[in-house]
Amino acid sequence: MTECPIWDRPHPAADGRPGPLPVLLYGLTVLGPVLALIAGLLLGDGPPPATWPELVLPTGRRLALWLRSIGLATSVAVCGLTVGTLVALRLRRHTRWAGWPWLFAMLAALPPMTHALAWSWVLARTNLFLRGAGMQALPTSGWLIAGWVQFTWLVPLAVAVSLVAVDAVPTDLLEAAHLLHGSVHPLMRVLLPLAGPLLLAGGGVLFLLSLLDYGIPSIFQVNVLALDVFADFSVHGQADRALLVSVPLLAATVGAITLSQGRLRDAAMAPPVHGRKAVTTERWPRWLVALSTGAVAIVMPAVLGPIVSLAAQVGSWQQLSAVLDGGRGEIVYSFGVSLAAALLSLPLAAIAAQRIVGGTPLGRAWWLAVTLPMALPGPLVGIGLIRLWNSPVIAFTSVYGSRWMPVLAALARYVPLGALVMTAALRRTDPSLIDAARVLQASRRRRLVLVHLPMLAPGLLAAGAVVFCLTLGELSATLLVAAPGHPTLSMRIYNYLHYGASDTVAGLTLAMTALVLTLGAITVLVQTLWARLTDIDPQPGVPVSGDSAR
């Protein structure tokens, strides 16, 4: 089989590709801030070009930081995926509930700082107990604890991705493998290779999120390159210089995303379904049962630890009620911002996803258009947004300074992630249905309404939910563009963080958790109803997208 990258092979779902105007809107909304930064670098008063190589190429201390950052991000991504896969296998063995991926994905929306504070709190109390008992205290700083806390932040996402990946493997293939080869063979030779591309794609996203985060490492006294970039920005105050200094981070993330997402072309993906039947012939060896039990035992405290610690810090229902009352304005506004970002991200993400799977000659450029904004640190996105929307050319629209700016910040940062989710969803659509629609339905609009949208609905919902959750916790870009007098919930939480009002911080963070869990519940409900309405239970032998199914 000849190897060819994902962008060279058109998928029928790319039918009805967008025209130039929607593409222009994607460019303005998502690429605009990046382009504004690059234009500022080339045309503004930034560092002279002669100094660029020195700023761009990491040497000495920065090289060591870069390598260590990549090491930390790789460890977190690998551990996350390993544990996530084991948990996914375990959950899928015992239950077919379609809501698991959503539940875990929503838990990933808790801001990283929440995990850092919660685990600091847990560690402090544990050490108090250990010292009281005359035992050795646990380490409260260093790579191990920083890696663990990043892991606890990202492992819900890893489990969600793994569940989706495991779910995407056609059940009939697994059944056949189990019948022919017994216990472990189907897992190693069928399930993991087929789920591998999606798992790898998820691993790329975990790597990116870990690499760009300096909040958790700095709390646990671990220096990473992302902190160095921020420190450089703080010292010199020049966005153009910061853009150059962050190039090693951009290169690492673009490389990781391209490598990991590129393997999606090999994925054998069954259409997403509600209540897929279990593999009845499955038999696991004891060591695998033990491993998956261990993984569940690791994930439980990782997921519940922060929530329990937050609840303990709130104290009482009265206190929680008072905190929520005080933050009602920010909670409502943030919900509105997140909802608007989620809804507006759908068409934009669909535009990019259609171009990526469409096999156009510009496919590589579209891949870059999706990965580059994702790799840009939040503060730089914020500066790019100011340069774009507050520029004399666009300022007349009065969008800058309005309450829409946090929505635009969220779109600039998270539409690319939504586009990746949509790309996976597009590739999971049944090509035979699309081909049939093409033959039988002449109208493009009817094809869109009657065929594409029903098949894409789960993907759209997934992309929207991801954007909603991430927007709710966004701070670094929002802080630079929020309208005066209209702070978001995350801004309020971080503000109180400095004041030391841990009960208030805990209460507001619990409110944020409740919001995302509510959205998770709604998503699961809609998914369930949608599956029943459209009745898309798989038929044995239905062709699935991906090479192995062709």
């Binding site: 105050g237 507006l344 629209t397």
Partner: protein, 335 residues
């Protein structure tokens, strides 16, 4: 889908803003919990609506400064109320600030005012040592910042915030200005060698001392006083107050008018209000300010009866050493 895209973006682009009337836009790096009540009071007495954007510690006080510089060609803010001075001086150098000499600024010592009227200092905070009294006996109480580098004290029981950001960076620059770059660099290198805990912010230093994860931490008076008022087992030590010692760094709040801001007159009224005696008293009562630069009879509860002697170092010298100090601090602490 395409139509949905167009409609959505069209709605976004036509989001018209109602013209600002009797409003003032203020960017404040002072904690919202301290600054909001004062701004609300201004609304009550002036009838002018205040629209505020507050910085957060996670942005290391660079968030709003970055925003003001990026907005320079089309300013959105009228007033910048900063919890420290170094970034305000930088904004003046960048041409972001307008000249305005409030009448009531005369009570502020000249050292805490810009000679060209670009900014005015008021209500200050001090750099202090916060000590956990459960863990450190009276006899072992530190008295000087030199005690932080004392080999007799375990470095991992002492904490400072990253000296690359915020008031800790300003403190480092002040020591560069006072001791000279070489001596100051040696001091911080010795702190790093002793294994001192470098954490994410002054509030984290406070929390770690309160929790007993640190014996001693270098922080600001507002953080330290919060711990005292919450009943934590801590004591505030004003460092280097003895005869012949350097004193501690006093960090004034600064307020400035933004050049070309949309509402200059309400902006000037807000600045006048912030420099009033009533606000000085309110800031002390709330726990934000602990050093009076103008005239006020109110004294901070957590430092009652304690006189703070400041370092004898011109603010302009501190700002002049900021870049060199931060570059060194990055080399020493981000490894």
């Amino acid at each position: 889908m395409i139509r949905a895209t167009l409609i959505s973006l069209l709605v976004l682009l036509t989001a018209a803003c109602i013209a600002d009337r009797d409003a003032v836009v203020v960017y404040s790096s002072v904690d919202q919990v301290f600054s909001e009540p004062i701004l609300t009071r201004f609304e009550e007495v002036s009838g002018i609506e205040v629209r505020a954007v507050y910085d957060v510690e996670a942005a290391k006080t660079t968030g709003l400064v970055t925003r003001l510089i990026a907005e320079r060609d089309n300013p959105q803010a009228d007033v910048f109320w900063n919890g420290e001075f170094a970034q305000t001086v930088r904004l003046a150098e960048e041409g972001v600030l307008a000249s305005y000499r409030p009448a009531n600024a005369e009570a502020v010592p000249p050292a805490y005012r810009d000679p060209d009227g670009a900014w005015t200092g008021f209500g200050g905070r001090g750099r202090v040592l916060l000590v956990n009294t459960d863990l450190v006996a009276d006899a072992a109480m530190p008295r000087s910042i030199h005690d932080l580098a004392d080999p007799a004290r375990p470095g991992d029981r002492i904490g400072i915030a990253y000296p690359l950001f915020g008031t800790t960076a300003t403190h480092a620059a002040a020591l560069y200005a006072h001791w000279g770059p070489e001596a100051a660099r040696d001091y911080f290198a010795s702190l790093a060698e002793s294994g001192v805990r470098v954490v994410d912010g002054n509030s984290v230093v406070r929390d770690m001392v309160v929790d007993g994860r640190l014996d001693v931490g270098l922080t600001d008076t507002d953080d330290a006083c919060t711990a005292v008022e919450n009943g934590a087992p801590v004591r505030i030590v004003i460092p280097d107050q003895g005869r012949g010692e350097i004193g501690t760094l006093i960090i004034p709040n600064t307020v400035a008018l933004i050049a070309g801001g949309p509402n200059p007159d309400p902006g000037k009224r807000l600045i006048d209000f912030l420099l009033s005696e009533a606000v000085a008293a309110a800031m002390i009562e709330s726990g934000w300010s602990h050093v009076v630069l103008g005239s006020s009879e109110t004294t901070p509860a957590c430092l009652e009866g304690v006189a703070i002697r400041g370092m004898d170092v011109p603010l302009a010298d501190v700002v002049a050493h900021m870049e060199a100090a931060r570059t060194d601090m990055t080399e020493i602490f981000v490894r």
